[in-house]
Amino acid sequence: MNMARLVLRRGFDLTEGVLGRVFPPAWNPMLNLGALGFFFYWIITVSGIYVYIFFDTGVDNAYASIEYITHEQWYLAGIMRSFHRYASDALIVVMMLHLLREFARDRYRGVRWFSWVTGVPIMVMVFVAGISGYWLVWDKLAQYIAIVSTEWLDMLPIFGEPIARNFMSPDALESRFFTLMIFMHIAIPLIALAILWIHLQRVAKPRINPPRGLAYSVFVALIALSLAHPALSQAPADLAVVPGNVGLDWFYLPLFPLLETLPGSLTWGMSACLLVIMIAMPWLPPLKRARPAAVDLANCNGCARCFHDCPYNAIAMVARSDDTAFEREPVVNPDFCVSCGLCAGACPTSMPFRRLSALSPGIDLPDRTMAQLRDLTEKAARSLTGTQRIMVFGCDSGPDLAAVSSASVGVVPLVCIGQLPPTFIDYVLSRNLADGVLLTGCRENSCNARSGIEWTNNRLAGERDPNLRARVPRDRLRTAWVGATGGRHLRDALETLARELNDADDYVRPALAAKCPPAAREAVDA
């Protein structure tokens, strides 16, 4: 499992990297798979409603009505039909990529089991909805699907008379099957939409719309495809002949040839096993998760920044339970918390300058505390030499930090870059622990904890609390959102920063407080 995940992760890293060269970070299609899925869903819905206006639901006229849509009103209904087909195919593509990507990034275990498990029925429903849609055209492909589907269902010993007998000969078929199929084709996507809503319940501010530019581009590509290669029906269904050669939609029907050739017990058994494995995957094996964030009310003023910054709705603000004058306090739901540390990075009491009292923020990760982070920073600083000393803060999901560690580059790993309070940058530069700071992590728009990079960028730009103080010299600070495979780009960024530090104006550091700790003094002396 780990090997498969690593191989896939490497593949996604490379693909995202290649696409990152031609797309702006916000537009990268690989980083918008879920949002693109929603976009295709809406295209399918709108085009489906329009096509349905002209569709005749009777078995005798269904094919003719689709032909009218395709050829007589090609300029609108025909394009809508092609839209409906190709957006459905594209939905399968982005849905499967989304599933594989979450698996590759190990974002389906631990508290993320909920989104994974609720995604499984959605996937099944998308397939069933698509297959039932092909049935309605009642062409040769529909005949093939109808016969193979019903024969497969008949392998379950639950039907009084084989359903496939409805397709024995031309005189056996009745329109009631079409009524059932239309009902399924409309009802199943609606049920899937309801489950999609549940699917997103544990995600704060989910991205359900792709960036406008990407959406326009995809839309234009679909129009071009619909005009250049319109979706057409195959020969009309005729139960007096077998379908023979069928043009299959391989996105929806790749397993159909197997369904009709392999024994039913095998195909049903494999399907059941696959479904059970898919549902059980978050516990195969369970994630050895870090402890969830913990609130320290003695240091919390109830500012709610952690509540606003949590990407997983794991924090709720409730009435204060201690005797202080503050109104509210955060409460962490351990079943939702992924231990990303974004809450600790947002806490105004995550202040490394604190020396009179212990560095204990209002909310912190018990396994990767702010105090430990400060110790790691100071330890890394002590070994730095030269005049272009750079401190690199990077997340566990980003590039390999050890590979860039040297006498002039100190590295401090974090769970997520969003765990880093901006005050740490001020601390490093003002206390002369380094001459420059570089923040690195996942690829932009691809943060493993969803919002770490966005919040960090906003904090550095002064757009989100806690802000980076104005006194911090921006020419000594760089970011490099390069992802796990971006080691070379990270080295380039470090070389650039080192050159710029060489040319940078002298930084007049704020006077050290009288109670400056020995470690910092040593660093200054060095």
Binding site: L19, R21, V22, F23, P29, R85, Y86, D89, A90, V93, L141, Y144, E151, D154, G160, E161, P162, A164, R165, M168, S169, D171, A172, S217, V218, V220, A221, L222, A224, L225, A228, H229, A231, Q234, L239, A240, V241, V242, P243, G244, N245, V246, G247, L248, D249, W250, F251, F256, P257, E260
Partner: protein
């Protein structure tokens, strides 16, 4: 120049994705039935005779039954298996003993068979036994057919309309 390459890259990406989706939405063609072959589909659901004949109840037995369950006969539920054979040009193509469905084996026996045969002229004989006899058949039908390539010949069985139906 850098922007030009980016826009070109985006164009190429969407072109490739559109081509990928457009192609695999109906290609490559899948050949479900080999060229020059036809299909015989034999399917029916038929209730065979009871394994044991119904027996007349004596007036004493009838009197012992609850008033709302009194009836002149009593019948065991189980039915005999249906024996069916399909012979094509003198060769036995399908031969099966179909058990009655249901937990008490009192439902209809069912079959659904797809048999791929070469197109061309054929003599088809269908036979079915649905009684307790040990040998011979209760129904038999013979047809000379000219099967075209990809033709689907449906063979159904309905006892109340005379037995086998070729469609």
């Amino acid at each position: 120049m850098r922007d030009f390459f980016k826009y070109t890259g985006q164009f190429v990406f969407f072109l490739l994705v559109a081509a990928f989706i457009g192609y695999f939405s109906n290609q490559p063609v899948y050949q479900q039935t080999p060229d020059g072959m036809a299909q015989i589909k034999l399917s029916f659901a038929h209730g065979a005779a009871r394994k044991v004949d119904c027996r007349k109840l004596s007036s004493k037995e009838i009197a012992q039954l609850p008033a709302n369950e009194r009836r002149p006969n009593t019948c065991a539920r189980e039915r005999v298996p249906v024996h069916v054979q399909l012979v094509l040009d003198g060769e036995l193509l399908y031969d099966a003993q179909l058990q009655a469905t249901g937990l008490s084996r009192d439902g209809p026996a069912r079959t659904y068979q797809k048999l791929i045969v070469p197109a061309g002229p054929h003599t088809i004989i269908a036979r079915l036994r649905d009684t307790r006899r040990d040998t011979g058949f209760d129904y038999e039908a013979e047809r000379q057919v000219m099967l075209k390539p990809f033709q689907n010949l449906a063979i159904d069985f309905k006892a109340d309309t005379g037995g086998f139906q070729f469609r």
